[in-house]
């Protein structure tokens, strides 16, 4: 090895050591961290939520007389990176609270770290019931899968007047499996009957086997709580086979892409969801929607960005009520959140940091998502 190469390696090693050294910053600002999937498989969620957080920050840039600074760290939609990102936020950035992660698996990697550091977290959209289980410092802005499944079951039974149902589940997604399970429990409890349960996998293109089982069973409603691509294809193939019964699904399917792929086949598809523009009537929500649509021309305010904003508002509100930026005090305030007017509705923190809030039901009509009704908890 020549002296030059040794020099090269030494410099690499020294960058290694110095790069890892922490940086301290002045404390005239309140730092809020966000760890979100800005790249990777679910980057779309991270982007939407970050857009919502930024608008929320424009609306409320200060707390306790100090400027709020948001620090964004990418998680690459990955657990290892999520844990790294959370450690970085807690330790290097010294944030007072953290927003994120967008998906449940990554939140479960981040939460043990924030819990140990006594830093409260508010996830916009981690809906898996395990995420906050047994955690003191973990909160969220969305309702959890069991709640969504239950409300969907009651809606199917009472509003759609369904006695029987066929369930089609994407087995590769915790979200879909969770929703379907809690739907079935509640539907049976209400006196309904599940005629068939069939499984699909994310990425499947052909659902004829599952649909022929549905066709034979002749249910009143199909419950397919899957993501938009699968649901759009599923609806298309169901209509081609002559299955006319309504399809009910969850919030994961409510994406513009569903309309593009599904076309006429997705007409009259019902969704249980977190947010619809028309259901958002508070002054804060109107202001938010106005700002969002000014900033992102041609885009409608969606559920992900609204929940991102709500996570921010919930945290800032808690800091305000706590009158402090200490983790345990913010945590107490967050847990006591009551009837908070968020973008996605009135939020009251229930057990385990899971909010109790109203749910909106939307449907596709004339190639658009239309608001149907609000179901209160």
């Amino acid at each position: 090895m020549s002296a030059k190469r040794i020099l090269g390696w030494t410099s690499v090693l020294s960058i290694l050591l110095f790069g890892m050294a922490g940086i301290c910053l002045a404390q005239d600002i309140v730092k809020i961290g966000a760890y979100l999937p800005m790249t990777g498989a679910v980057a779309a969620y991270g982007e939407s939520e970050w857009a919502g957080i930024q608008i929320a920050k424009e609306m409320e840039p200060e707390v306790l007389g100090k400027k709020i600074e948001t620090v964004l760290v990418d998680t690459k939609s990955d657990k290892i990176e999520a844990a790294n990102a959370m450690t970085l936020l807690v330790e290097k950035e010294k944030v007072v609270g953290v927003l994120g992660e967008a998906i449940s698996g990554n939140s479960m990697a981040g939460n043990p770290i924030s819990e140990a550091a006594k830093i409260p977290t508010v996830s916009p959209t981690a809906t898996n019931p395990l995420v906050n289980q047994g955690k003191q410092y973990a909160f969220r802005a969305c309702f959890i899968d069991p709640f969504q499944g239950e409300v969907a079951a009651r809606f199917a039974k009472n509003e759609l007047k369904a006695q029987t149902v066929a369930v089609i589940i994407d087995i590769a997604q915790d979200y879909c499996v969770g929703l379907a399970n809690f739907f079935v429990k509640e539907f049976v409890k209400q006196g309904g009957k599940v005629l068939s349960t069939t499984y699909i996998q994310t990425g499947d293109q052909d659902f004829s086997a599952q649909l022929s089982a549905v066709q034979a069973a002749k249910p009143d409603v199909i419950y397919a709580p899957n993501y938009y691509t699968e649901d759009a294809l599923l609806a298309k193939q169901a209509r081609d086979l002559g299955i006319k019964v309504p399809i009910l699904t969850g919030d994961g399917a409510q994406e513009e892409a569903l309309l593009k792929i599904g076309g006429a086949a997705v007409e009259n598809m019902y969704f249980t969801g977190h947010f619809h523009k028309q259901a958002a009537t508070s002054a804060r929500a109107k202001e938010y929607i106005k700002r969002f649509e000014e900033k992102h021309k041609g885009k409608e305010a969606d559920a992900f960005s609204a929940l991102g904003a709500d996570a921010y508002f919930l945290l800032v509100d808690a800091i305000k009520r706590a009158g402090s930026t200490e983790g345990p005090k913010i945590r107490e305030a967050l847990a006591k959140t009551k009837d908070f007017e968020g973008i996605s509705g009135k939020i009251t923190m229930g057990e385990n940091g899971n909010p109790i809030k109203s749910m909106v039901i939307n449907k596709v009509e004339g190639g658009k998502f239309v608001y149907v009704t609000t179901v209160n908890p």
Binding site: L16, M38, K79, I80, L88, S104, P112, P129, A172, G178
Partner: protein, 360 residues
């Protein structure tokens, strides 16, 4: 001359003793560095070092198949998954298990099994090796691209089973609430054991046979080497250490789900060993260390910067762009990776210092 060979023998013995001493000193230095980080380092540094050690274990064991035996195996994610799930199921407390399995309860033998961390890690490794044994029969019937596809398929099968076998793995919900067992001593301890075991194996006659198979299988067979036996050996050892590393990973991030063990994990390992140098254990160590540290260090390029009053917002994903550029540079200027097929050794170092200094 008998004197010369005697002299040579003495030199060899002396060198072996010197190297053993230096190895010991290097280990002590590593232990001291770990102690310092454990005591005074920040959690962030410790986390990166833990990731680094786990990646080193994975890369070194993966390199044994891909680099030393010259077999394009694309399913280490399966072995990592098996090790992670096995050890997680063994260390989780019955109460934690009950809380996790909200949709379908955990199947009987697993719901009562409980073991200390070391036993859980070894069990994870052994089960991974057992699965490696089972699939080795179909896998080693084919070679080249076909073998790559078979192993890739196995990786996917294990992931799908993790998703579907809800009463064992909790399906896509994943497991959470694992105890934080992995610390610097565990992760680096396993890494050191793996490096030692793999390099001893590679230097042994078995290792030479594996290299012979890599260079020309037919010629190796003609020399009396049984390819199946040697490949199976490498495969089992590699799977064992991958499984152990999976257990360490699970108890470091404290939650696992099938999404952690996709093909991307394999792909990252492949990048590490190619950048380090296929076939070089030293290279695998360097590649893994650079990968674990580099990914975090490059976050700098994603942060918003203020240049002369102009505020440039950070662009998420920028570090992947920089990372790919670095990869390209490495592949263009060092076609065989950083180390090629060379290994670090004390002899090499002394040789370089002595003759390199004279030349400069």
């Amino acid at each position: 001359m008998p004197g010369a060979s005697l002299f040579g023998g003495w030199r060899l013995m002396e060198r072996t003793r010197r190297n053993a001493l230096l190895n010991l000193l290097a280990l002590l230095a590593l232990a001291y560095a770990l102690y310092l980080f454990d005591r005074y380092g920040t959690d962030y540094q410790v986390r990166i070092l833990n990731n680094m050690a786990i990646f080193i274990t994975l890369a070194v064991s993966y390199n044994l198949i891909n680099g030393v035996c010259g077999i394009l195996h694309l399913g280490p994610n399966a072995f990592v998954a098996i090790g992670a799930y096995t050890s997680a199921l063994l260390t989780m407390s019955p109460m934690e298990k009950q809380m996790n399995y909200i949709i379908e309860p955990l199947m009987w033998p697993f719901s009562v099994l409980n073991a200390p961390f070391l036993v859980a890690l070894i069990a994870g490794g052994l089960l991974a090796a057992f699965f490696a044994f089972l699939i080795s029969f179909p896998v080693f019937r084919v070679r080249g691209d076909y073998l790559a596809i078979v192993t890739l398929g196995f990786g996917e099968v294990v992931r799908v089973i993790c998703n579907a076998f809800q009463s064992v793995t909790n399906g896509p919900l994943g497991l959470k609430g694992l105890a934080l067992h992995s610390n610097l001593w565990w992760t680096w301890g396993v890494a050191v054991v793996t490096i030692t075991a793999v390099s001893k194996l590679v230097q042994s006659s078995y290792g030479r046979a594996m290299k012979a198979i890599r260079e020309d299988e037919i010629a190796a067979r003609a020399m009396g080497i049984d390819p199946f036996k040697h490949l199976l050996m490498a495969f089992l050892i590699s799977a064992f250490f991958s499984g152990v590393a999976g257990g360490l990973l699970a108890h470091l991030i404290r939650t696992i789900s099938p999404t952690l063990f996709t093909f991307f994990l394999t792909f990252n390992l492949l990048i590490m060993i190619v950048v380090g140098g296929l076939g070089s254990t030293t290279g695998a160590v360097i590649g893994a260390a650079l990968f674990a540290w580099g990914g975090e260090a490059l976050r700098i390029v994603e942060q918003p910067v203020q240049v002369a009053g102009l505020k440039i917002p950070g662009i998420p994903g920028m570090r992947m762009v920089v990372f790919s550029l670095i990869l390209m540079v490495v592949i263009i200027f060092a076609r065989h990776g950083i180390m090629g097929r060379h290994e670090f050794s004390w002899d090499w170092l002394f040789h370089k210092v002595r003759f390199g200094a004279a030349r400069d």
